[in-house]
């Protein structure tokens, strides 16, 4: 009996905490379909009438579409680079009998400790010298660079499970290292690829600090930065449009999260337990 009561108390606590965690997010979506008048009068009550006016207002000037396209470009190119570079580097570090692999591996893992802020000033100067501020590349370089330590680590720890005999057999049969990689090793790493891709797609889509530093042209802005812009443009008064813009821009990461939930959490948890 006592046990049952304790269990109920636990459940109630968990649900209360769940409300704290989830209510703000739900409210975001609710606020985005509320008429502006209602939003300023009773912002946290349930909407009496639902309107899509906020969305049509935000979508009509086409800016958010452009921001999303920029984010998509940066995210997709970065993801491809991350997967290609870390899967190959991981392969080199775990399947080759060459001296120095351990040192290079710890050199890679050291990167996990490095705060991203350290790159802002040097890269800003470097980019302005080359005249490539406000390009997708200016965001892709640090995104990929800072994703590599953890991704290389994940690939290396996966490759440990690929038996050396398998690779030896391929080599004996005259298979080149490249073909061994493309036809045998890489296809086996499907789960690792999905984990890395799903996790970093969310992190890169959401990035603010790099975009805020390297991008100032409206035409090159990513979604996270564009959002900030929206708030300013409506002078902090038109909350309805702001929330509509937010709702649109956080939808893609949420969809990825709920679709690939298992992999996203696996990636982030692994990032923690390996760090």
């Amino acid at each position: 009996m006592k046990k049952k009561i304790i269990k109920i108390i636990f459940a109630v606590l968990i649900i209360l905490f769940l409300i704290i965690q989830i209510y703000p997010v739900i409210w975001l979506f609710v606020a985005s379909v509320k008429p502006t008048v209602e939003l300023s009068a009773a912002p946290f009550a349930f909407p009496k009438s639902i309107t899509l006016e906020n969305f049509s207002k935000v979508l009509s000037d086409g800016k958010i579409g452009m921001y999303m396209w920029n984010s998509l470009k940066v995210t997709v190119i970065s993801l491809i680079l991350i997967v290609v570079l870390s899967s190959t580097a991981g392969y080199a570090l775990s399947k080759f009998k060459v001296r120095g692999t351990k040192t290079i591996y710890s050199f890679f893992t050291f990167g996990i400790m490095v705060p991203v802020q350290i790159t802002l000033i040097p890269l800003f100067i470097f980019y302005s010298k080359l005249g490539i501020l406000n390009t997708s590349f200016s965001l892709i370089l640090p995104q990929v660079g800072f994703a590599l330590p953890l991704s290389v680590m994940m690939f290396v720890s996966f490759y440990e499970f690929v038996p050396n005999e398998l690779i030896e057999a391929a080599v004996v049969d005259g298979c080149s290292p490249l073909r061994t990689f493309i036809q045998i090793v890489f296809p086996l790493a499907r789960n690792t690829v999905i984990t890395i891709a799903s996790m970093y797609s969310i992190l890169i889509w959401n990035d603010f600090i790099f975009a805020n530093t390297f991008i100032s042209d409206t035409s090159a802005k990513t979604v996270a930065m564009g959002l900030k812009d929206y708030v300013g443009a409506f002078g902090n008064v038109d909350w309805g449009s702001t929330f509509a813009a937010i709702a649109i821009s956080i939808l893609p990461p949420l969809v990825i999260y709920f679709a690939l939930n298992k992999w996203v959490t696996a990636g982030m948890t692994m990032g923690a337990t390996k760090g």
Partner: protein
């Protein structure tokens, strides 16, 4: 250790990634250190000034303000994320139904961009129109506490720390939960049979067993808090005055608002040293504790064996 001996292929596979990594992560570190000894306003020639920037830093009142603010920020963020995270992870281990659903939902805040979170909290803290926080205070009869949380010097620092803590609590909970359920039940089942209470099992058996995870999450959480930037920068950008200034927001402002690239780099170098130091100290503390713990467990076992023989 691998099996392929082809050195050329090794380099072909390794170099693209390695070079990218060096260009994006190590070149900037080297440049930051170099710039931290220079005076440069963005145009004209860089001027070597030796340790002047470092001397300036240690005489800069705002630097100390930012440093201590960052410590408070760190305490709030870390205690929210780890204590609340751990608490709910433990509660969740006693649940049998809907665990996956709860875990999935707890995690949602860290999927959302910081810009959106900032907007969310800005509207909650606001007084005009009355934000959620102030509305709740009024409803429960604490109307006197209603204030504009982000504009007051005394409340602004906790107000910018809480969103960051809130954001990642769910993630740490998921990590702790995964660690707790991966423990071998036979270990604590045996203790249960021996008459250990749930509390004893929790603190004497489960906690020591997930010590590695606690160390790792602590490392993550502390280094994360030391480099905290997005939410304070977006919410108040350090204001009012310097009341919510953190190390990295100060660095950012010095470099990109006042164009003091040299001094900004000095602050950046300070942040990286700070982060590495924390990781190092934590490892030190935990390994010595580990050894002590091992000895203690060993003693306990011997004592228990003796008692068992009687």
């Amino acid at each position: 250790m691998g099996v392929i001996r082809n050195k050329k292929a090794f380099l072909a596979f390794l170099l693209p990634g390695l070079l990218f990594y060096i260009l994006a992560v190590f070149y900037p570190i080297e440049e930051s250190i170099r710039l931290s000894f220079m005076k440069w306003g963005g145009i004209g020639k860089k001027q070597f000034v030796g340790l002047e920037n470092y001397v300036t830093m240690f005489h800069d009142e705002v630097f100390y303000k930012a440093f201590f603010n960052n410590l408070i920020y760190l305490v709030i963020v870390v205690s929210m994320q780890l204590l609340i995270g751990l608490f709910f992870a433990i509660l969740l281990t006693y649940m049998t139904k809907h665990v996956t659903l709860v875990k999935t939902l707890y995690y949602v805040p860290c999927i959302i961009t910081t810009v959106a979170i900032t907007q969310l909290f800005r509207s909650m803290y606001s007084t005009e129109p009355m934000g959620l926080l102030n509305q709740i205070l009024q409803k429960v009869g604490l109307g006197g506490m209603v204030t504009s949380w982000l504009a007051k010097v005394s409340t602004v620092l906790p107000a910018v720390s809480i969103p960051e803590g809130w954001r990642f609590t769910g993630m740490y909970m998921v990590i702790f939960y995964a660690a707790l359920v991966s423990l071998d039940p036979s270990v604590y089942e045996a203790a249960k049979i021996d008459g250990a209470s749930e509390m004893q099992i929790l603190f004497k058996i489960k906690m020591p067993l997930i010590k590695d995870i606690i160390l790792l999450t602590l490392t993550m959480c502390l280094t994360g808090a030391l480099r905290g930037f997005d939410i304070p920068f977006l919410l108040t950008s350090g204001g009012p005055g310097n009341a919510s200034e953190l190390m990295s927001t100060y660095m950012y402002k010095k470099a990109f608002s006042s164009n003091q690239y040299g001094y900004g780099s000095t602050l950046a170098v300070f942040i990286i040293i700070e982060s590495i130091l924390v990781v190092y100290i934590l490892r030190k503390i935990f390994t010595s504790k580990e050894q002590k713990e091992e000895k203690r467990i060993e003693k306990e076992r011997i004592r228990r064996n003796r008692r068992g023989n009687h």
